[in-house]
Each structure stands twice: as C-alpha cells, then as structure tokens.
C-alpha cells in the first residue's frame, strides 16, 4: 500500500511526526510534521514515491507561520499533508528544485505572506503588482488600504 510505502520512505528522515490521519474528518491519510530545513528532503522523498504537489500554502498564527504542503498520488488514493512550523521572521527553503510546480505556489506565499524562500529561482510577487508594500493575508494586515 502506498501509505505504508511513504511511511517507510520517510522513516530515515527522523521527522517530528508521521502518523495516520483521520480521513473521514480531515481528508488526510497521512499527517506529517517536519522542520523547515527538512522540507526539500521530504519533498524529494514524496516525489520519489510518485506523489504530486497538490497545494502549498501558509497559515499566519501571529507569532509564527505554519507551512502546509498537500501531496496526492495519481494512481492510489493517499493524501499526505506536511506541516512545518516556521517562526517569524525566518525564511523557508524552497522546494521548487524538486517540484518545478512549487515555483508559482511559493511566489504566491511570498506575495501574500512575505515569507522568503531560499534557493527560489525567481522570487517575485505573482498576483499583486510589484509596487505594493503589504502582504494581505498576514493577520496584522489592516485591511482596506484605501480607508
């Protein structure tokens, strides 16, 4: 089974948490927690097991961010979520060398949260114009800039 295969492949990385998820409740088969520095290795491992990157985003928790990576597989149902706690104002290693598709997702996270991605080939804003100086999905963002 793919779930066991991923678990076995992730075992040598000494991650914080690799546990079965509650699929009926959350939609995850596998829940993983990793350190930010481990993320490129985790991504490489998941790519080697044939998983694709479904989504990449961040959640602003005030003191810190949680980076959230969703992976799924084309042939077998197994959604893996990877959470990485990221203290502010630290940056995140980029996984765009592993998954070229992460390039745009990371640009979006940079655009919306201002999180810097080390090793990203082209870290520019993607949705907002280059001229703005705010990151709108931060909880500290006041909202309407025209108010």
């Amino acid at each position: 089974m793919l779930q066991d295969k991923i678990k076995a492949a992730l075992a040598p990385l000494n991650l914080e948490k690799v546990a079965d998820g509650d699929y009926a409740k959350t939609g995850y088969h596998l829940e993983v927690a990793a350190q930010p520095e481990q993320m490129p290795q985790v991504a490489q491992t998941l790519l080697d097991t044939g998983c694709f990157l479904e989504s990449l985003t961040a959640v602003d928790l005030g003191e810190s961010f949680t980076m959230v990576y969703h992976f799924a597989n084309f042939f077998e149902l197994c959604r893996t979520v990877v959470h990485a706690a990221l203290p502010k104002p630290k940056g995140m290693p980029s996984i765009s060398k592993v998954y070229p598709g992460a390039n745009w997702y990371e640009r979006e996270v940079f655009d919306m949260f201002g999180i810097h991605f080390f090793g990203h080939p082209d870290l520019r804003r993607i949705l907002l114009p280059d001229t703005v100086d705010y990151h709108p999905l931060l909880k500290s963002f006041a909202g309407d800039p025209w108010k």
Binding site: T57, R79, P129, L137
Partner: protein
Amino acid sequence: MEMITRGIEEKTYTLNLGPQHPSTHGVLRVLLEMDGEFITKADPDIGYGHRAHEHMAENRNYHQFLPNLGRLDYLHALAYNHGYCMAVEKLIGVAPPERAEFIRVITNELNRIASHLLWFGAYLLDLGAFTPFLYCFDDRENILDLLERVTGSRLTYCYYRFGGVPLDIDDDFIAGARAFVKRLRSRWSDYDNLVTKNVIFIHRTKDVGVVTKDQCLQYGLTGPMLRGSGIPYDIRKVEPYSAYPLFDFEIPVGQNGDIFDRYMVRLAEMEQSLRIIEQALDKLPNGPIMAEKVPKRVKPAEGEVYQAVEAARGEFGCYIVSQGDIKPYRIKLRVPCFANLSVFPELAVDTLVADLVAILGSIDLVIPEIDR
C-alpha cells in the same frame, strides 16, 4: 560602429501578448521573448483579476462566503460550490440526504457539459473556426435554461447549501434534462464532421503542445491536461465523493498529451457526463433535500479539512482552517488552472505565436479562477 554591434547582440526582442487580447481569455498577459518568429521564453503575468477571495473568506462567516465560490471559475461554478459545501459539511459533521446528493450530481454534470461546450466553441474561435461556436452555444443555452430553473441564475451559481440544496428539481426539469441528453447525443456526429475530422484542425493540434507524464507529476497538473497525457486520474473515481460511486462511467484518456488528445478527452467526457445524468435521473430517490440538523450559525470546532472535487478544468481543493470561530481562520482555494498554467512556459519554448495561442487555449484557462 556602435549600431552594428548592437544589432548583433540583440538577437531577440520582447513581444507583449495581452492583457487585453482575445486569445488570452480574459486578462492574462504573457511576456514573450522572440527570436524571429520563434519563442525563446514565455513569462505569464497573472493577477489582473485578483479580488482577494481568500482574504474575504477570513472576514465573513461561512454562509457569507458561499456566493464567492461561483465567482472563481464562473464556467463550472457548481463544482466550486460543491467542494466548499462538502468541506464545511465535514467540519460540522452534517451529511446531505440522498436526494440532495443526486441533485448535486445532476446539476454539477450539466454545468460541466456547459463548461466544456463553451471551451469547445471559444477554442475553435481561437483557431479561426467560427461555425462550431454557433452550434455549441445553441446547445449550451439549453443547459443554462435548465439550471436557471433551479438555481435562479444563468452564471455564477450559488445553489448548494451546507447540508443539501435549497430548491428541489421538478418534473419539468427532469423532462428537460432528458430531452437535452437526447439532443446532445444526436449532435456528436455534427461535431465530429465539423471539427474532429477537419484537416486544418488536425494539423493545428496534432503533436503541438505535448505534455509529458513527467511534467504532469512535477507540476501537479490535473483535469483534461493530465488525462490527455494518458494518466486516468479523475477525483470522481479515485476519491469518490457525493453520489458518484453509484454511477457507471469511464475516464477517457489520451495517449500523446498533445492538444488533439485534450480535445478528444473533453469531448468524451461530455458523453460520460450525459451517462451520469441519465443514470441519476433514473435512480433519483424521493425524500428531503436538506439535512435535518444543520446549525443556523456555523461554528465548527478547531481543526482543518481538505476537500477535493473534480471541476471541469481539474482538481479544485478547498482547505479550511477553523479555530472555533464563526469565521474561517484561513481558506486556501487550490485551483486547477494555476498549476496547469505554470507548465506553460515549458510548453511555449520553440513554438510559433500561432501555436502559442493554440496551446494557451487548450489549457482551458479561466483567469478569475487563477487570480482569485
């Protein structure tokens, strides 16, 4: 002397395509670096239609966010309604009754056909064929009339609610849907004769814009972009939801991953959707259309949920983080075209501008969905 050296160095030039260009389907701008007639680098510039949906979600309660979903991918709005409603239903532990699930499937598939028909017409318009557009809009109009009966709108639907649907379908809708299935079936041969067997169309699309299986994996492509390359990944089958496991249908796949295969996949998908609608109408159960215990004030417990559904363009994923408040703490909308367009710079290299337009159209872009 200076003039001559400059001439040698500047072998390439920049061409600006869009944002107001009919072939970019909305407001997409592509910066092209051209070597003569060939493209050496393409850089899509998105965000012209950014309306901050994710930020809006954090500032309103769960019910108030419902109308936003129809304004992402307005062509297949019901799939987005569905994904969001299912995600919230999971959070609050409510399951819609069987009849509501059937109605959701029927309306969803009708909407999918409408979306594919619009792509079919608009795409051939991109390639310079005007007639197919008139045929498929004639057909699509029937779907819009049907959906208007139950949802109240012809575009940007907001029809599903947490725990079911607010309005039941009536006998006229059922009769109309059956008539439409029959009508569209009789049209396939016209479409084939008009387009599929058209030599110009075949030359424009065969072996152009080939997406490899490796690219699918690396970029996380979904939908017809992926299935055109021969990977049978359809969330309705792989991760069955709603009433889809009850119906018999197939996942059409291509072989080469070129534009022609994507075209064939979409045409075949419409036929499969017709099959689903037919079966759902036959098996439609009686009963309530709304779950009994749906809280008026949605206030889920702390937690998070990811729900994926198959939209016309690929996987729509709704990721909700709740912190026990009446407002969602964070909503991430994973939209298919964002990933599907990110592979475009790789596809565009060494093609002609005319082919570039053909490739862009074959991704089936809906810009408001990419920009959110």
